[in-house]
Assembly symmetry: C2
Homo-oligomer: 208 residues x 2
C-alpha cells in the first residue's frame, strides 16, 4: 500500500475535483444538518469534525458563528432572507466540495424547498441530509442559548417550532435522535454512514 | 524527517486552523490577483494551481466562472453590486483560509477600497495582493474574450480601463508584468514568493 500522496496521477490541464480528492484521500461531500434550535446540530457536527480530523480528513464546519457574521451579514430573518441565506451557504458548500472538502453545515434550515435547493446546488450524489430529530420539548428544556426562554417571554418573534414552522425532511439520508443517544453514538452513526458511502476513501485504497 | 501526516498534535476541543494547516503541510492564504481584463490573472492563477498541486498542495481558484454564476449570481455590475461581489468573495476566501487552503482569486477588482476591504476581511498577514500589471494596449491586443472589440463597437458600457477606472494598487505584495515574461516565469515569481513567506511549509518542516 502506498501512502496516499503517491497515488496521484498527474495530467495536463486544470486540476480537477478528482485530483484534489485523491490528494486528500477522501470524497468531497456536504453533511447538511437540519433540526430545531437546541437539537444538537452544531454539537454533533463539531464532534464529527474532531473524529474525522483524527483520521486525517479535511473538514469544514459552517454554522451561524462563521457565516451569519460574514458572508451573510447583510441578511435578516425574513422568509426571503432565510432563503437567500441557505442559497449562499449551499453555493459556498458546493465550492468547498469541489475543493475536495467534507463540509458540515449546521443551520436550522426549516423549509423543505430551501433544503431541496441546497441539494440541487451541491448535487444530490454529494449531499447528505442529516435530520437531527428531537422533540420540541427536549430542545426547549436544553435551551443552550436561552432562546426558548426569550420566545416564551415574547422577546423573539418567528421562532422555528413555536411561531414559525419546521418542515421535517421527507427522505433524509440520516436521522439522528440525539435525545435517545449519547453524543458518541450519534457521531458513530454519522461516521459509519460516511464509511458505508465511501466518502472516507475507496475500498482497495484504504489510506486511513 | 517524518511524513507530514505524523506531525499532527491532537488536543481536545475544536479543530483549529493551525491543526488543519499541519494536516495539509501548508499555511492558508489568499493570492488576490488584480488587473485589467486580458492581463492574464486567470491564466497565471490556473498555472500556479497546477504547479502547487504537483507539490501536493491544496489550492482553490475562485474566478468569474465559478463565482459569478453561483454565489454572486444575484449581482450585476453596478458600483454597489461590484463592491458586494468582492465582499462575498473575500468572506468566502476567509473561510477557505480558515480551512487551511491556498486560495487564488482572479477578478479585475478595480477599486482600491474594495481590495482594502478584502484584505481586512481575510487578515493582512494571510493576504497577498498580486498586481498583474499589463498596459491596456497589450490587454486589448490579446482580447481573449473579444470584450475589447465589443467595447469599441459600443456594445459594452462601463468597461474597466476604458469607460470605468482601474485603480492600481499602491503597495501590492507582488507585481507581475506578464507582457514582459513567459507564463512559466510569471508562475515562478508567485511560487518563489510563497516559498519565501513560508506558506508552503515552515523551514525545518519541509514536507514537500
Amino acid at each position: 500500500m502506498q501512502p496516499r500522496s503517491q497515488n496521484i496521477v498527474f495530467h495536463h490541464g486544470e486540476v480537477s475535483r478528482a485530483d484534489r480528492e485523491r490528494l486528500l484521500g477522501q470524497r468531497g461531500c456536504v453533511l447538511w444538518f437540519t433540526g430545531l434550535s437546541g437539537s444538537g446540530k452544531s454539537t454533533v457536527a463539531r464532534q464529527v469534525e474532531r473524529r474525522l480530523f483524527e483520521r486525517k480528513h479535511l473538514v469544514q464546519v459552517l454554522d451561524g458563528d462563521n457565516v451569519r457574521h460574514g458572508l451573510c451579514k447583510d441578511l435578516g430573518f425574513s422568509a426571503t432572507d432565510r432563503t437567500e441565506n441557505i442559497r449562499r451557504i449551499a453555493e459556498l458548500a458546493a465550492l468547498s466540495v469541489d475543493a475536495g472538502l467534507i463540509v458540515l453545515t449546521a443551520f436550522i434550515s426549516p423549509f423543505r424547498a430551501d433544503r431541496a435547493q441546497a441539494r440541487a446546488i451541491v448535487g444530490t450524489e454529494s449531499f447528505v441530509e442529516v435530520f437531527v430529530d428531537v422533540p420540541l420539548a427536549v430542545c426547549e428544556s436544553r435551551d443552550p442559548k436561552g432562546l426558548y426562554k426569550k420566545v416564551r417571554k415574547g422577546e423573539l418573534a418567528e421562532f422555528t417550532g413555536i411561531s414559525s414552522p419546521y418542515e421535517p425532511p421527507d427522505a433524509p439520508e440520516l436521522v439522528l435522535r440525539t435525545a435517545d443517544l449519547t453524543l458518541d453514538r450519534s457521531v458513530d452513526q454519522v461516521i459509519e454512514y460516511l464509511d458505508r458511502r465511501q466518502f472516507l476513501g475507496a475500498p482497495g485504497n484504504p489510506t486511513r
